[in-house]
Structure formats: C-alpha cells, structure tokens
C-alpha cells in the first residue's frame, strides 16, 4: 500500500480547504437548489479537529459560512448527517423531543475489511489494485440492483480514501425514507449473513427453491467475475485451508470425500477444483437429480458468498448516521475522497487518486506562470482534481434539474407536506450503534470544543 510520504500538516490541510475543496459543488449536492434551503441550513455537520477532538451538531446558513468555519477550525475531516427538524446548532433551544432527523440521503458503506476472510492478496488496512476488484463488483451489483428494483436515479459513489467506497442516494423518495423503510431496503439487498462461526453465509433460499429474481439478476453479473477474481486472480481454493472452507459449503458427503481425496494428493488450481465440483454433479446423475440439484444450488450460493456485496448495514439503517463528506482528505493516505463513475468502476485504480501533496504541488506549478491573482475561486480546475469535481457537478446538475421540474409541476408547498408526513421514529441506541468510533472522542471535547465555538463567533 502506498501512503503519503510527507505528513499531513495543518498548514497543508488549510491550504487545501482554502484553495481546492469544492464547497460550491458539495453545497449544491446537499441543497438540491441554488439558494439555501432547510436541506442545507438544518443539516448536521460534524468536525474532527486536529488532536482528535470531535464536534457534532454544527450547522450553517450558507456555503460561505461553511467554508469560513472549515477554514477557521481546519478539521482533519468533516462528516455529513441528516436534515433535522430545526437547525442543529440551535437544538438546545427547541422543545426536547422535537429535534429529530427528517431527511437524509440513503447511504451505503462497503469496506474491504469485510472481505478479509476471502481475499488472499492483502489483509486489514491494506488494499491493492487486485482486491479493489471486490469493491468494483459490489458497486456494479448494488448500482444495478438499486436502479432496477427501487428506481432511484441519483446515485453518487465516493471512494472513501483508503479501502472502501460510499454510496449516497439523493432521490426525493430516498431522502424521505424512515428508519424502518431503510432497514427493509437493506434487508432486501443483504445476502451475506452469519458471524465468524457460521461457514455458510448465504441463506436466501426457502428450502431448495430457486433464487429470488433480484438475486438471480445479481448472480448473472457475479458468475463471470467469480471465475476471474476468485478462481484465477485470488486463487481462493488453492491452499488447504482455502479448499476446506469450500468443502464445508457443499452439502453432499460423497462428493466432499471424493473431492478431498483428489485435492489432497495433487496440486490443482482453484479453477480446476471448480470444474471438479461440476463433475461431481454429473457423477451424481446431473442437475435434475436430487443430489445433483443440491450441489448445483450450493455452487450458486458459493459464488454469492465469495462475490456478493458485503454491506455495513448499520450505516444505512439510521437517518442520523454520519458519513464522511466527499472530497475530504483521508488522514492516513492523504488521498482525496473523490466521486467515482460506476460505469467505469473496473478501471478505477485507488492508487491513482490524487493526494493532497500532489494537488498542492500542481497548484504551485500552475500559479508560477499564471498572473498572480489574489482570489483563487476555482483553483481545482488547474489540478488533477478537475475531472472529479466535474463528475460531481454533472451529478448535481441532473439532480437539480429534476427538483426544478417537480417544483414547477407541483407548486412549492409540497416539500413541507412531505416533511409533515414523516414520523419521528426513534432508533433506540443511536449513539452506541452507529457512531461508536466517532462518539468515543466526545469525552475529550469539553473545553476545547467550547473554545472552538467561541473563537468562531468572534
């Protein structure tokens, strides 16, 4: 894994926020319109400051105010939460119980660590171009499934800066989903289940019936990628522990003992082993016999278990979950969390994502020959950040266009009725559930947090 050689100093971060961070694009994306709406002014931002102080419930009236505050506080990163029923920074002045999250992008988080038990090339925080293939498959399947089954159109994929990817869905209906509906949607998309001690993690069939159509559709995509990634590239079944895991998933003692004998004595590639299983179906009398059909179904389930997207469900289930804003800098790698085009996800290489140092250097080079202008409005245009901001802007344009059309169609009162419709459903342990890692810093906020708030007022 390549990491930034130079440390990320506060000076670098500040220069990045001042000159490069595309505040306007991010504002438009969150706000859906050009003039600030509640979607922006009642939106929670949370800052992680230098020294790991964590500040929640920040909110801003305009994009200028956001930029000013970011430059004042100079956070190592910041996160975006839901639109609440009141401005988060005024939450203590509203009646208790009436400060509730109302609207929020539907978000997904896919992290490479969930694939640690499968991938053979890296582990833990490491990610290479080879294991990125797991993520690209997940993107393909999820993107296709959500568009086809739920009909959502405004999907923004954002590289998380190290080993994962986030998805933000901004369709009007998606924004308004209750926690219960989010949970249902996650349930629909979830295929991999079961803890460490459960071998078989795919149990989506009822008895031995065929797979439900939505999963069958995913399987069509996965089948082909399974061969390239799992069998050829990762060689998941080459080692003894690798093929023993595989054998645990085959519900046929005769076939398993045949295969084990065969594999123990000779060196066979994962691809050959996969063919050997197919032969066992033939030995059992073909797919139409009971034994053959069970092995066949098991093979489908194995493809799913090794390649179907592994979702971090908690992130998606609750409206008040915070997620890192696009274009932040990942503190460990120095890479920008850039938007990614799902149509070319296979070509995306995380190692080629611009880092903060690289961008600032590009900027220095660019400004040497240009005339020294004091205002750097869109300095990102001079750097390799440009295509990513443009990708974001195209996404936002489509979103804004639709919002404008629906407003023209239905008059402007509808957004408020939409809000009334929303109940105040509560998640029982929001603090413990979703935000454990972040909240853990809350304890240290105390004095320094207040100091920061005070300094920003001045």
């Amino acid at each position: 894994m390549t990491t930034e050689k130079e440390p990320l100093t506060p000076e670098l971060m500040l220069a990045f926020y001042r000159r490069l961070y595309p505040f306007k694009s991010v504002f438009n994306w969150l706000n859906h319109e050009h003039t600030p709406t509640k979607l922006f002014t009642q939106r929670e931002f949370a800052f992680t400051l230098q020294g790991d102080v964590y500040l929640r419930y920040q909110s801003f009236l305009s994009v200028e105010e956001l930029k000013k505050q970011v430059c004042t506080m100079n956070p190592t990163r910041f996160e975006i939460g839901p639109m609440y029923s009141a401005r988060p920074r005024d939450r203590k002045t509203v009646r208790p119980g009436s400060f509730t999250p109302l609207l929020r992008e539907l978000v997904f988080d896919i992290d490479m660590t969930d694939y640690d038990s499968i991938r053979t090339c890296c582990s833990d925080a490491a990610i290479c171009n080879r294991c990125w293939a797991f993520i690209s498959i997940a993107v393909r399947v999820l993107d296709q499934g959500i568009r086809d089954q739920f009909g959502y159109k405004h999907l923004l994929w954002v590289y998380s800066g190290r080993r994962g990817i986030h998805l933000w869905i901004s369709d009007k209906e998606a924004m308004a989903l209750t926690d219960e509906q989010r949970k249902a949607l996650v349930g629909w998309m979830t295929v991999i289940q079961g803890g460490k001690e459960m071998h078989k993690k795919v149990n989506v069939r009822v008895k031995s019936n065929p797979l439900p159509p939505s999963i069958n559709m995913a399987l069509d995509t996965l089948r082909e990628r399974f061969v390239d990634l799992i069998l050829i590239d990762q060689e998941c079944f080459q080692s003894e522990s690798g093929y023993e895991e595989l054998l645990k998933l085959i519900p046929d003692n005769i076939a398993v003992s045949n295969l084990r004998t065969k594999w123990r004595n000779t060196e066979r590639s994962s691809k050959q082993k996969w063919t050997d299983i197919k032969k066992e179906i033939r030995n059992a009398g073909g797919e139409n016999t009971l034994r053959g059909s069970l092995i066949f179904a098991a093979m489908e389930d194995i493809i799913l278990q090794y390649t179907y997207p592994r979702l971090d469900a908690e992130v998606s289930k609750h409206r008040n979950h915070l997620l890192k804003a696009p274009f932040c800098i990942h503190p460990k790698t120095g890479r920008v969390c850039v938007p990614v085009d799902p149509r070319t996800i296979e070509k995306f290489n995380p190692e080629n994502v611009p880092t903060i140092n690289q961008l600032l250097q590009e900027l220095d080079l660019g400004s040497q020959d240009a005339t020294q202008n004091s205002e750097h409005h869109s300095d990102w245009e001079k750097t390799s950040l440009k295509p990513y901001v443009e990708l974001m802007d195209r996404h936002v344009l489509a979103l804004m266009e639709e919002v404008r059309k629906s407003k023209r169609g239905a008059g402007s009162s509808q957004s408020s009725s939409e809000m009334k419709r929303l109940g105040a459903s509560h998640s029982r342990l929001p603090c413990l559930l979703g935000e454990h890692a972040r909240l853990s810093l809350h304890a240290t906020i105390g004095e320094s947090g207040k100091a920061c708030e005070a300094s920003s007022c001045g």
């Binding site: 790991d52 208790p96 119980g97 660590t113 969930d114 640690d116 038990s117 086809d148 089954q149 739920f150 009909g151 959502y152 209906e173 989903l177 219960e180 509906q181 949970k183 249902a184 949607l185 349930g187 629909w188 991999i192 289940q193 079961g194 803890g195 460490k196 001690e197 459960m198 071998h199 078989k200 993690k201 989506v204 069939r205 009822v206 019936n209 065929p210 797979l211 439900p212 159509p213 939505s214 999963i215 069958n216 645990k248 592994r310 971090d312 469900a313 109940g423 105040a424 509560h426 342990l429 603090c431 413990l432 559930l433 454990h436 890692a437 909240l439 853990s440 810093l441 809350h442 304890a443």
Partner: protein, 386 residues
C-alpha cells in the same frame, strides 16, 4: 432526566400497545369471512392498483418466481397488487414481493400483510399525534394519573422478560479479577464465546463489546471495574488509543456520557433478532448463529468440565434445528447444573426457560450460593472435634 425517562417509557409503551392491538386486529381480520373482508377493503380504499395485463405479461415469469420461491407453487391466475414499496417494508425486507422501479407487486395472498402494515402505521401516527398533545394534558390533573395507572397495568400484563436487571444476584459487586472465574462457572454459551474471543484476540468488535459489556454491567461490574477489565483485556492496545476509542463507549453504556441513558443488557430476544452478526463478528446467539459442527465443538470444549458429554448433543442439536434456541440453552443449563440437583424440566427455576443471559448467570450463581450456604450451615452446626 426525569422527562426523557418518562418519554422513553412512553415510547416503549407505545410499541407494546401497537403490537398488542395489531395482534387483536389480526385475529379479527382472519376470523372475518371473505365478504366481510371485501367490504372492509372497499370501505377503506387503500388505493392499491391491480397490476394490469400488460404488466403481468412483461414481468410474468419473474412475478411467479418471486412469489413461488417463498411459498407454495405459484398460481397462474393469482392477482397482483401494485403499491409503492415503501408501503410494504416488511414484505420487501423478507423479499416476498417482486420489485421493479420502486413498485412492489404483491400477490393477493399477501394482501393481509399490507392491511396489517396499514393498520399499525395509522395507529402509530395517531399515537404520535397524541403524544405530542400530551404535555398540554399535563395541566389537567384528572387524566394523567389515570393514564399512568393504565400504563402500569399494561406493562405488568405483558412483560415476561427477565427484569430484576439492575440488582446483582447476591448484592455483591464483582470485580474485574473475578470475571474469568465467573465466566467459567456461570455464563451462558453466548457470553462464554465472547469471553473466549476476548481472551484469544485481545479484542472484541463493537457489537461484541456492547453485548458483553452490558451483560457484565448488570452482573454487577462497576464502571471503574469495567474500565479496568476492558483495559486489561485489550492488552495489545496502547493506553492512548484505548482512552480515545473505547473509554467513552464504556462510560456511555453506564449512562455517564452522551444522553446518559441507562441501557439494559440485551435479552435473548434482542440478541436473536437485532444486530445480526456480520462475517467478522463474534456476538449473537451461538445456538442460532454458529454452524452446527462449530456449535457442537464449542459446547463440548466449553461445558465438558461441567458435565456435558457428547451423548447430550443429539438432543440439543435437535432443538437447535427446530429453531428453539432458548430450549437448547435451557437444556445446557440443566445439564451443567445437574451437580446442584437441577433436573430436566427444571429450567432456570420453576420450569422457566432462558430468556435473558443475565437470568442464566444469576440463577447459576444463586444455586452455587445456596449450596455454599448449606455447607456453611452444616459446618457451623458441627460439634468441634475435641
């Protein structure tokens, strides 16, 4: 503080109320005959469109697949209703409908599910509206006492969960040093597993910490002892990281941070149904979330010193297979406490089966204490040999 507690209670009450009302409604709906049902549907106009022929042709095969994979063979003549998926979240969550472009195609036989969903969501909304009005009712001195009284009766009637939560089994506090021994003698399989994982990996993932930490809290581990316990257990982690990432959460679970809620330990029901363990997780219920062979190995290695043998396994695995995880757990309790004269059918006292890990541990400690007390009484009664 008082108010938020009050509010929390009311939320819990509301949930229970909706659940009970829904159960009653289901019974009434199911005992109605067809005509009554049709009349009911006509009067209420739920606004479902029947899927038309064109759509039926377009999605025909998939509709059949979608509905046949979950239940009996599809009926070609069956009608489908087309509704926004957001109106049938429970069917979506279980993949019991066909979904296309945000519309759910609900087979007629699942129609009752839509009705039930509609019933509970409109009831919830009405209750929420009432809840918002309630502060104003506080001014009226007559109605609030009546409501409070009613709600208490309601809770008393429904609750069968183990509730002696915050009290420790014998009034003693336990310390971090005692956990190893207590685990060995008194913990149910889920907590034994978390304890072993913690000792082996010197770490537990978030939900594991939550499940185990709250259990230990209720068992009687004070906040200071809890911090000491986790600090020592995470022996690979530097102080700095521990203080930053874990101390807050431990204090939070004791109600000392954030919104200062006093969280109860998770019941079996919660462990079984919420926060399903992911691929790298160790929490959950072993009877439910372990592969059968791993469960058998784990049971033997965990409890053989307390008298569980491989001849007990078939019976336990049989109940596991039938989905009666609490029965399996209760049986393990009986077997491992046979030395304290617990017999089959005794359960965790009075024939009760396990509904809460703390109930399991508390009962186990009670039995031990009873024997110790008896022994002590014997000793005291003995005439010293001269």
């Amino acid at each position: 503080m008082y108010f938020s507690h009050h509010k929390k209670c009311r939320e819990e009450l509301r949930r229970r109320f909706v659940k009970a009302e829904l159960a009653l409604f289901k019974i009434r709906y199911e005992t109605d005959d067809r005509e009554e049902r049709q009349e009911f549907m006509r009067v209420h106009k739920f606004g479902w469109a029947e899927a038309d022929d064109k759509e039926m042709q377009l999605h025909g095969d998939k509709l059949a697949e979608a509905s046949s994979w979950s239940t009996q063979a599809a009926n070609a003549q069956e009608k489908y209703y087309k509704v926004k998926w957001t109106r049938v979240p429970d069917l979506v969550e279980k993949r019991r409908v066909f979904l296309k472009d945000g519309m759910a195609y609900v087979p007629a036989r699942e129609q009752s599910s839509i009705v039930f969903q509609e019933f509970s969501s409109s009831l919830e909304k009405a209750l929420e509206r009432t809840a918002k009005e309630l502060p104003r009712l506080d001014e009226d001195t007559r109605i609030v006492p009546i409501l409070d009284n009613l709600s208490q009766g309601f809770l008393a009637g429904v609750s069968s969960e183990w509730t002696s939560a915050s009290t420790t089994a014998d009034g003693d506090e336990i310390t971090a040093d005692m956990v190893d021994e207590l685990a060995r003698k008194h913990f149910p399989m889920c907590m034994r597993n978390l304890h072993e994982c913690l000792r082996r990996d010197r770490h537990l993932k978030h939900y594991g910490r939550l499940q185990y930490g709250l259990f230990l809290k209720v068992l009687g581990l004070s906040i200071d002892e809890a911090v000491a316990f986790w600090r020592r257990s995470f022996s690979n982690i530097q102080d700095d990281k521990f203080n930053k990432e874990y101390r807050y959460n431990i204090r939070h679970s004791y109600g000392l941070e954030g919104k200062r809620a006093n969280y109860a330990a998770k019941s079996c029901q919660q462990i079984l149904t919420s926060d399903q363990p992911g691929a790298q997780d160790s929490h959950g219920c072993p009877y439910r979330h372990f592969a059968p062979d791993n469960l058998q190995t784990a049971l033997l290695s965990t409890y053989s010193s307390q008298g569980l043998t491989s001849s007990d396994l078939p019976e336990i695995m049989h109940t596991v297979k039938a989905g009666h995880y609490h029965v399996a757990c209760t049986r393990v309790f009986e077997i491992t406490h046979s030395a304290q004269e617990v017999k089959k059918g005794d359960g965790v006292g009075g024939g009760d089966s396990v509904t809460h890990p703390n109930q399991y541990a508390a009962r186990s400690r009670e039995l031990e204490k009873a024997i110790l007390d008896a022994r002590k009484a014997d000793m005291d009664g003995d005439v010293p040999m001269s």
